[in-house]
Symmetry: C2
């Protein structure tokens, strides 16, 4: 699993900082999470092919998470896209994009499919044999969802040495990979587990931005691998965080601790602080394994 942070700063695009957008590579899927202004340019800078993105998840309709989407969708048309593009986001997103494309008389040539969200309960929004994506309802100033991306358990891997030791013909390898036991010529049945390795443990990533500190959030992301939680402020601005329905670094760490996640990634920093290291210092007093997102940073999990 690879996370590329295209932008992770709050409020407005600036010369050196971008608003929120991330690319998550998970089990052969490449998904875009949020799409602040400038996302297209950052995708190009990281040489991520637009055509490989088939699913876009938008947390909420504040400009710093969303104003890059109309341009991204338009560019896909100019690049000659033909495949379906799926957009998951709050109710209203379809009307907004449709109006903008209509005004420019630039409707897409490719199928653009909106999955509008309005539930206040968690719901499964995408699933195939590789991954599932469920919403994590968040409490922010407007209707907002985080997203939980979960890999599915893969197939068991063939242990060639074991198969050869039993003298099993290669013609049966396909069956072994599919979990079948094998009956030898002498009638003995070899359990599939003797002929295979465990598949890699499936990983999970939760994107939670923007949100106020919410104690109940931990239960929804219990024991996951990686939590990206917004930390717009430090504790010194805790009142402002509550008022604007954002969280502090310490609060993000509390969620990570309560949820027993493996790794916490912080982001969505206000640009008022002189260094983002301050966020890590504060969060580390509560939770040990803290990483700092930053524009252009890539994490391999």
């Amino acid at each position: 699993m690879r996370l590329t942070v295209l932008g992770c700063y709050a409020a407005t695009p600036r010369t050196l900082t971008n608003p929120t957008s991330q690319v998550l590579e998970i089990n052969n899927h490449i998904v875009l999470i949020d799409c602040g202004e400038g996302t297209q340019v950052e995708l190009r800078r990281h040489k991520i092919k637009f055509s490989r993105i088939n699913h876009i998840f938008i947390s909420h309709l504040h400009g710093d998470h969303f104003f890059g989407l109309p341009g991204f969708i338009s560019t896909m048309r100019l690049l000659g896209r033909e495949k379906e593009l799926h957009v998951y986001g709050p109710k209203g997103i379809k009307e907004a994009i449709t109006l903008l494309l209509k005004l420019g008389d630039s409707w897409t040539n490719y199928p653009l499919l909106f999955h509008e969200l309005s539930s206040k309960e968690s719901e499964l929004v995408f699933e195939d044999e590789k991954i599932s994506v469920t919403t994590i309802p968040l409490d922010h100033r407007v209707y907002t969802n985080g997203f939980l991306f979960s890999e599915k358990i893969g197939k068991r891997k063939l242990n060639i040495d074991a198969a050869e030791a039993y003298g099993i013909d290669k013609a049966y390898y396909h069956n072994i990979k599919n979990g079948k036991n094998i009956t030898l010529d002498n009638g003995k049945v070899v359990d599939n587990k003797e002929l295979t390795f465990d598949p890699p443990a499936p990983k999970s990533y939760a994107f939670c931005s923007d949100t106020i500190y919410d104690e109940s959030l931990a239960a929804k992301i219990k024991d996951i691998d990686i939590l990206y939680h917004e930390a717009t402020f430090l504790e010194s601005e805790a009142d402002l965080a509550t008022k604007t329905k954002h969280a502090t670094a310490k609060q993000a760490a509390k969620v990570a601790k309560d949820a027993n996640v493996k790794t916490l990634v912080l982001g969505h920093y206000s640009t008022r602080y002189k260094s983002i290291e301050l966020f890590k210092e504060e969060a580390s007093t509560v939770f040990p394994n803290v990483l700092l997102a930053d524009d252009g940073k890539t994490f391999d999990f």
Copy 2:
């Protein structure tokens, strides 16, 4: 008059090129012309204060001229703007911006005033004692206007040496600056022209993008100082230019020549060519005084 080109490339934002946006400083006004994605960042890069911009002129509602506007308007709110902001653009622009701000529950605290355009005839859209702005209807794939920005003739400048030579008291200087003749103590009347210098010649700038080559355009911008005319293509792609309702460098030069403008500025280049110098070479075969716009370039006229 100073023109700062924030972006001047066609179609999509790229790592090294921005879509259309310009800042024109004219007679103490600072206006923004078009607002492609990334405009905010370019304004910051050029240290142009957002608060000094009170008028925004949008040529048409294709994304590369317009998708930076929602973010710019939102940022003005975050920066605490209180002054009126005037937006001139095609009918529909108000609905689009209003919907986006409504979805983000982020309506502006300052007065945001839309002046929607739908006429196919040139019309005066702004005027004060310093400048006037009139539309230049253009022929593109969607409803499009160029804009003609014209300085007004300033006041005559006091010739202090002449006034002193006549022994005129300083108390009368204000009247002289306002164009009055002066009656001396001996009864002689001194003509105002003897006591003043001519004001600087008023300058004019026409922004014409995007547009097909249109012979009738020259008559609308006759004898102006500076013409910015789109040159998306070279003559080798003249058919494509016509088909997409864009112009070639040579066609832009023909308009400049027919209109008898002083200077032609080219822009809105397709990124398919290896150098923008090719546009200058082609245009210069028809019209001598050609400048190339480029991202980050500033012209003082």
